[in-house]
């Protein structure tokens, strides 16, 4: 069986919190020797003292629990943005550069401005380029935030917040393995879709408030397109719920861990992509590409005709937020596809060692999950850099005339296959 690298995020964060509290406590004791009234506060944080007074243990204090939750959320946000967002942008930039017969970003660690050693003979632009995105972010932070003169200032400033926060909300319910998640909601998938669906409002508001014709047209296009493609996406999930009977991502993945058919040594897992839901998988992936505003469907910011679409008037880090969080949505979308159709973190090889009864994973679940998420993303990147952009009326035609009937057909297929028992419910 498998084992996640993080067995329980809350417990891990609790240990972290207690360690931080211990350090704070030592500092408080040190201060208390100078400022005596602080002694009581220091003793309140001291587990040994609490034991002596038979108070509740420190870990059970509501304040500490709240801090632990905050730390857990921070860990997920840092993991999603500082690691996965940067890595995904790096993967995309390197990958499409290779498609276009060039090297792409090549900034190496030697080009850091504060590097203390002699840099004259070091190759500053022959590295992997991972630092380039960080450098871009720093550059955007230094830039001035310009608000257009006739813009509706409040709305103009609110919409990046709305987009960024709703994107981060996705990661509250998105599990990275059977232990690495913030909240295990019964309706996790529905929560993720709810968070996804908030962004069109932000896009529309930002497009309107900038008082620019390009942003207005871009916002209108974004709203029309995202609305049209959210429907087949949700219909596909409804079809999938026929099989899963649950909207909890952990349950859905657990159902896919068994083996469907054994072909000699190779066992085909019971992923939903191998079920009659293969049509649903295709429809869901196409809709997800539209929801991520990737190139065949990137008409909201078609840089050919609408300078930068609804993000035209943003500058500085506000532009960085609305621009960079597209990749975060892409990660979330790829993770959703992986959980729903590609077996989540279940994989063929789990090397787990038991060291004194504690499972130590060599290939943890997170590795499989990340591998699948990045593979799905690379396929998306590949498609989006080899096809031109589709026109708005063609996009809406595809959405309303093709994808919605297909997704309704998936519901029929699901109901039929359940009724005749073609696919056993896990």
């Amino acid at each position: 069986m498998s084992a996640p690298l993080v067995p329980n995020l809350f417990n891990v964060c609790e240990v972290l919190t207690l360690a931080i509290v211990w350090i704070v406590d030592q500092i408080l004791y040190g201060l208390a020797s100078v400022i005596p009234p602080l002694t009581g506060l220091a003793q309140w944080f001291d587990p040994a003292y609490r034991d002596r007074l038979l108070l509740t243990p420190l870990a059970a204090e509501p304040l500490i629990i709240v801090i632990t939750w905050l730390i857990a959320v921070t860990v997920i946000v840092i993991w999603a943005t500082l690691f996965n967002l940067l890595t995904m942008m790096w993967v995309e930039r390197k990958f499409y550069s290779r498609l276009q017969d060039r090297y792409g970003i090549m900034i190496s660690i030697w080009s850091l401005p504060f590097w203390p050693f002699n840099r004259t003979r070091r190759p500053t632009h022959r590295g992997t380029g991972y630092l380039q995105n960080i450098a871009d972010g720093v550059k955007l932070l230094q830039k001035e935030n310009i608000t257009p003169r006739n813009a509706d200032s409040a709305m103009f400033h609110i919409s990046p917040v709305l987009i960024a926060s709703s994107t981060l909300m996705i990661f509250a319910a998105l599990p990275w393995s059977s232990g690495f998640y913030v909240a295990n909601l019964d309706l996790g998938i529905l929560f993720i879709f709810a968070a996804f669906s908030l962004a069109p409002l932000g896009i529309l508001i930002s497009g309107w408030s900038a008082n620019n014709k390009y942003t207005l047209v871009g916002g209108l296009r974004a709203a029309a397109m995202l609305m049209a493609y959210a429907i087949p996406m949700i219909l596909c999930v409804i079809a999938l719920v026929f099989y899963t009977g649950s909207l909890n991502p952990l349950t859905i993945v657990r159902q896919q861990e068994r083996t469907l058919v054994s072909l000699g040594p190779i066992g085909i897992p019971a992923w939903y992509i191998f079920s009659p839901q293969i049509l649903g998988f295709i429809v869901f992936s196409v809709s997800m590409m539209a929801e991520m505003e990737r190139v065949p469907f990137d008409i909201p910011e078609a840089e050919g005709e609408l300078v930068e679409g609804w993000t035209t008037e943003y500058s500085g880090m506000r532009f960085g937020l609305v621009f960079g969080f597209k990749w975060l949505r892409m990660i979330a979308g790829a993770a959703l596809i992986t959980i729903l159709y590609l077996g989540g973190w279940s994989g063929p090889v789990f090397t787990t060692l038991y060291v004194g009864g504690v499972p130590v994973p060599i290939v943890p679940e997170e590795a499989w999950f990340l591998l699948k998420v990045y593979l799905v993303s690379v396929v998306f990147i590949w498609i989006s850099w080899s096809v031109p952009r589709v026109r708005i009326d063609q996009i809406l035609n595809i959405g309303w005339r093709k994808l919605i009937p297909y997704s309704l057909a998936t519901i029929l297929i699901a109901a039929g296959s359940i009724a005749w028992g073609v696919w056993a419910v896990g």
């Binding site: 499409y96 498609l99 276009q100 017969d101 060039r102 014709k213 390009y214 047209v217 296009r221 190139v295 065949p296 990137d298 008409i299 078609a302 840089e303 050919g304 005709e305 609408l306 300078v307 850099w385 080899s386 096809v387 031109p388 952009r389 589709v390 026109r391 708005i392 009326d393 063609q394």
Partner: protein, 364 residues
């Protein structure tokens, strides 16, 4: 939603150069369009009156910076006709080779710009990668990548370098392979590309002729007009080639324009190969041109974008009395509102990219 005007330019990713396309949209549908040009007007016809005949070649190079040789060649041809001199045969063949090389480089630049217009950035980098081959050949021939200053009144500046022929053959062989395997797949055979270009920006053959549209844009309407065939200059009459005309249905749309230009890439390669074959291996490549001349010279050539026309009058001085330039893009631009009306806003990019605008020659 009320109709409003959208400025596609002058600072806009769609405009390849500095001009402004005002587009009136009703929602997403273009109801009217108005090109605004003249941002790059440099007063060419006037400047050329104060410079000597031979020195004007430098100016005409800069008329269209992606298709320099074809423009300076047209000027040289007009001046030669005025002076009544004839280029030696080898000079004419070298001119044909350089013209076709320049045509390929120019069409590749257009292809490179058309890709990102439709959201396909990969096309840009691929086309520029192969353009490099032809720029290298041109550099080998003339010494410069841009603004080559290569044709001269009475011939060309210098002879072909050694083993130019072998290098040319090698590059063309490599290029034709890339055209068949890569460009054709990513552009012509791509379903999304055809969805974007087929049936948009349609202009009838009658309209196109009335508005003065020439070159590949006119051939895409099904009109078999190619000055290299109809009114051969240099040694084009000795070359066996097929002008790329759109014969199927649905003529005059962006896809037809794309196909005509795209096939011209292959056709130009064949012309170069034939010219290298039939070219005399040695001989004079230039005759001495007189310094002063009197009379009228008139030359029209098949430029990469249409019919380029030079009309030069000399009054016995060493500089022209009057020069008139007919720019093909200038006339095509006047017809773009016809193509744009009724299409979607996103199509304006697919249309204006397919007519291949070069602002330098348009504004003169």
């Amino acid at each position: 939603m009320p109709e409003f005007w959208i400025n596609m330019g002058p600072q806009h990713p769609m405009t390849h150069g500095l001009w402004n396309m005002k587009v009136k949209v009703d929602g997403e549908t273009v109801t009217d369009a108005k090109p605004e040009i003249g941002y790059l007007h440099r007063g060419y016809e006037k400047i050329m009156e104060v410079r000597e005949f031979q020195k004007n070649v430098v100016l005409t190079d800069r008329l269209c910076y992606v298709s320099s040789i074809t423009w300076s060649h047209a000027y040289c041809l007009a001046v030669e006709k005025m002076m009544g001199i004839e280029t030696p045969e080898r000079g004419q063949w070298i001119r044909v080779v350089s013209l076709e090389l320049q045509r390929i480089a120019s069409h590749l630049m257009w292809l490179a710009a058309y890709g990102p217009d439709l959201g396909l950035l990969t096309g840009l980098l691929w086309a520029l990668r192969e353009r490099e081959l032809f720029l290298d050949l041109i550099q080998l021939m003339s010494g410069a990548r841009m603004n080559q200053n290569y044709p001269r009144v009475g011939g060309v500046r210098n002879d072909l370098p050694e083993n130019f022929e072998a290098m040319c053959r090698r590059s063309i062989e490599h290029f034709l392979k890339k055209v068949d395997n890569e460009y054709q797949r990513v552009f012509q055979e791509s379903k999304v590309f055809r969805m974007r270009t087929e049936g948009v920006g349609r202009i009838s053959a009658a309209d196109a002729i009335n508005w003065g549209v020439t070159g590949p844009n006119l051939r895409a309407c099904g009109v078999d007009v190619d000055l290299r065939r109809l009114d051969p200059y240099e040694t084009y009459e000795q070359i066996d080639f097929e002008p790329q005309v759109w014969h199927d249905g649905g003529a005059g749309d962006s896809y037809a324009r794309f196909i005509c230009r795209f096939n011209e890439l292959r056709e130009s390669c064949q012309i170069i190969l034939q010219a290298l074959e039939k070219m005399p291996k040695s001989g004079a490549y230039r005759v001495k041109a007189p310094r002063r001349a009197e009379g009228e010279g008139y030359a029209k050539t098949e430029d990469s974008r249409g019919e380029a026309l030079f009309y030069v009058i000399g009054d016995g001085d060493d500089r022209p009395y009057r020069v008139k330039i007919r720019s093909p893009v200038f006339c095509t631009m006047a017809a773009t509102p016809l193509m744009l009306r009724g299409n979607k806003l996103a199509d304006s990019v697919a249309i204006l990219g397919s007519v291949d605008v070069c602002v330098g020659e348009m504004d003169k």
